[in-house]
Symmetry: C2
Subunit: 426 residues, 2 copies
């Protein structure tokens, strides 16, 4: 054991090599973004570009000596043998599929970071007690088939395989056919045997770490999410001829709900980390001189506290009724998404914090605002995540998405330190 | 002169015949509205349906013995000779083009009401001193080529002919080609020789007359109109990961402007007849989990008082600045339409009121909330309008648009009485 510890001391990945690999994968499915002039990435799950990306990563896995398994939902696992190969592995993973207007970091950092760790261990002849598996999951983004974290949800039993197979994209293409078409309809059981631990390094996709000058985010969990789809029905009317007292303006009703969300946040009544957004507002007919008779709108609520989330939901639903009465409109709403908060493993989070400190890096706990494969895996084994900061207020799902070589390398260094500790646990 | 007066006494149009003609014209361009199940009308200016409608009205004009002239902007004038045919005529007019989701009354009542008057005069062998002209103007609605009251604006010199000719619809079709294609690129000078007077009967397109139980609206003028097209630029951001203090939410900015309009109205500071509407709100990207980075929105202000309108414009423009500062967004705005209030001729309005009283009909002065060809004609000659009530809160630009046979007939009866008085003036 001492020899092992010694060989691990001060071990660092090669940031330039990692960054180069991120750049190579980012070439696949690349396009020139008209707004920014930057090169963006479009690798929708199981598209031709995703197939090419998957084949590239599998080629890299094999070149590193990993034994590659593809399961029946297209998740790919590259396994590096351990000294005790019978023990459950430590798994490092994320995804390589993308939204249609992506950068090169979202998901890829976690997967290629895992491969960089393997390469570093290989080069330094480091052998871990437990096997080390680098995984990438199918369709984390959910942009094509409508269900995010699909592959990891199937692997951990939240979504049944046959249900996933039947999903269709906007063109009617069926998921199982697309799996077959890309050559990633594997034979391995989709239900994953619990690993010893699961680790994921990801860009923050937000501005917090960068604005506080912190190197490493120790992700304590994922906040609860609640989405409402609203249909507000008032009465279309001529903007010039209809007196105000006879109007039922669905646009005004939507505006009141939007500002109520703001008011709920500043009240502090639902915790200090509540977030709320009206992202979609579509009035009908939507013409300058017609009072909107119908508005479709969305409400996105987030809260790291489940009780606060429940209270916020009750408050906004009560407000829909108030608006119905005051504005003479009717409001139908549908819960289009709802997840409770996820709490990651404290002991692994502590290891991440300690690992960062040992490497001389600053760190802070942070709650993830977005969903990740790690939240699915947390049902199966002890799980935690490392966040790295992003430039430009952490913009993501956009070609401007950007983390520096140092930011990426630091995150993967911490990941490696923690992975080694866990992989040496007997 | 006495003989003439005698033959006019108690003269009434045939309401059933008028209503039947409205129904016949309403068949042209009709469609079944999905929302209401009612038969709607779609006769966009210079479309195939409008061509068919125009040909039908011209056929009716000729059958009544009118001599038909088509000018170079497609306005159609049907002239009934006067005893003194050298005197400028009394003109009765409106339009027969429609919005894409229209009823059968908007515009058509004024034109077919004019023809009904001619038919009544013919049947009763009544001859007026001055000629009587029934007119319909090209593209009053402005839905296809973007400029409303186009034909009457060209006829009265506000818009130049060549400027009108160059207008294009959304498909790139050029107006002059469409005029030629429908066979309505006439040879007559588009600049109208001032008539003796201009009269227009129109549905109110609002709820006031109906809700007060009044038969006839004596239109005193048209209110001022001001349209702003707003482009609000904030910053797109992930709804889950972006803290509230770092957001620049263009949707919230639009909501604040929308509610400010409401507040301005209730303050009473801009008169009691101010109207304000945000009809269009289009967020980009408009997705549930993305803070809107850009919103295009419109503001429609109306006021019968020009000074109140100016004050309201100044107030909302100042508020744009407030929102820019508070919400960290930038707001560009463009004046997409602006007309001062129009005051119709007092003496003609008095005749309308007296005519209604003589027919035993209740009447009230009313300001038009919508624009009409009459406001263009008022630059050329003494002008006034008769409004008739509409059912269902006067809904218009909708297949539910509906005025009863009696409501229509009363309006045209009053119009006839006033037209005869004016046409007998030497």
């Amino acid at each position: 054991m001492d020899t092992r510890s010694a060989s691990r001391q001060g071990l660092k990945i090669d940031g330039q090599r990692l960054y180069h690999t991120l750049g190579e994968l980012g070439q696949i499915g690349s396009y020139v973004d008209e707004e920014t002039g930057l090169s963006g990435v479009n690798r929708l799950a199981l598209s031709a570009a995703d197939k090419q990306g998957r084949n590239q990563v599998v080629t890299w896995m094999r070149a590193l000596g990993l034994s590659v398994t593809v399961d029946r939902i297209g998740n790919v696992y590259g396994r590096r043998a351990g000294v005790r190969d019978d023990l459950p592995p430590v798994m490092i993973g994320s995804h390589i599929d993308s939204v249609p207007t992506a950068g090169r970091f979202d998901g890829c950092l976690g997967v290629l970071g895992g491969l960089e760790i393997v390469q570093t261990l290989n080069a330094n002849d480091v052998h871990t007690l437990r096997p080390l598996t680098v995984a990438f999951f199918t369709d984390e983004e959910g942009c094509r088939f409508g269900t995010d974290m699909l592959g990891s949800a199937v692997a951990t039993g939240r979504i049944a395989l046959d249900e996933a197979y039947r999903l269709r994209d906007a063109n009617g293409c069926v998921l199982v056919d697309e799996l077959r078409g890309t050559g990633f309809l594997g034979a391995a059981d989709e239900r994953l045997t619990p690993p010893h631990a699961y680790l994921e390094c990801h860009i923050e996709q937000g501005p917090v770490l960068r604005s506080r000058g912190v190197d490493i985010g120790v992700v304590s969990g994922v906040q609860a999410i609640s989405w409402h789809e609203l249909t507000i029905t008032g009465k279309s009317a001529h903007a010039g001829t209809t007196p105000m007292y006879l109007r039922a303006d669905a646009g005004v009703a939507a505006a009141r709900i939007n500002l109520k969300l703001r008011e709920m946040i500043s009240s502090g009544q639902f915790g200090n980390e509540m977030r709320a957004t009206m992202g979609a507002i579509a009035p009908n007919p939507g013409l300058v001189n017609i009072v909107p008779g119908k508005v479709r709108a969305t409400v996105d609520l987030r809260n790291p506290s489940d009780p606060h989330m429940k209270d916020a939901e009750a408050a906004i639903i009560a407000f829909y009724q108030t608006v119905e009465e005051c504005e003479h409109v009717s409001i139908r709403w549908r819960q289009s998404a709802r997840t409770d908060s996820v709490k990651f493993d404290d002991s692994v989070a502590r290891r991440i914090a300690n690992g960062a400190t040992a490497l001389g890096l600053s760190h802070e706990p942070i709650t993830s605002g977005a969903g990740h494969d790690a939240q699915e895996m947390s049902r199966l084994c002890k799980t935690a995540m490392v966040f790295v900061p992003g430039e430009y207020d952490g913009i993501s799902h956009n070609p401007r998405e950007y983390s520096t070589m140092e930011q990426c390398a630091r995150g993967v260094d911490v990941l490696m330190a923690v992975a080694l500790e866990l992989a040496d646990e007997s």
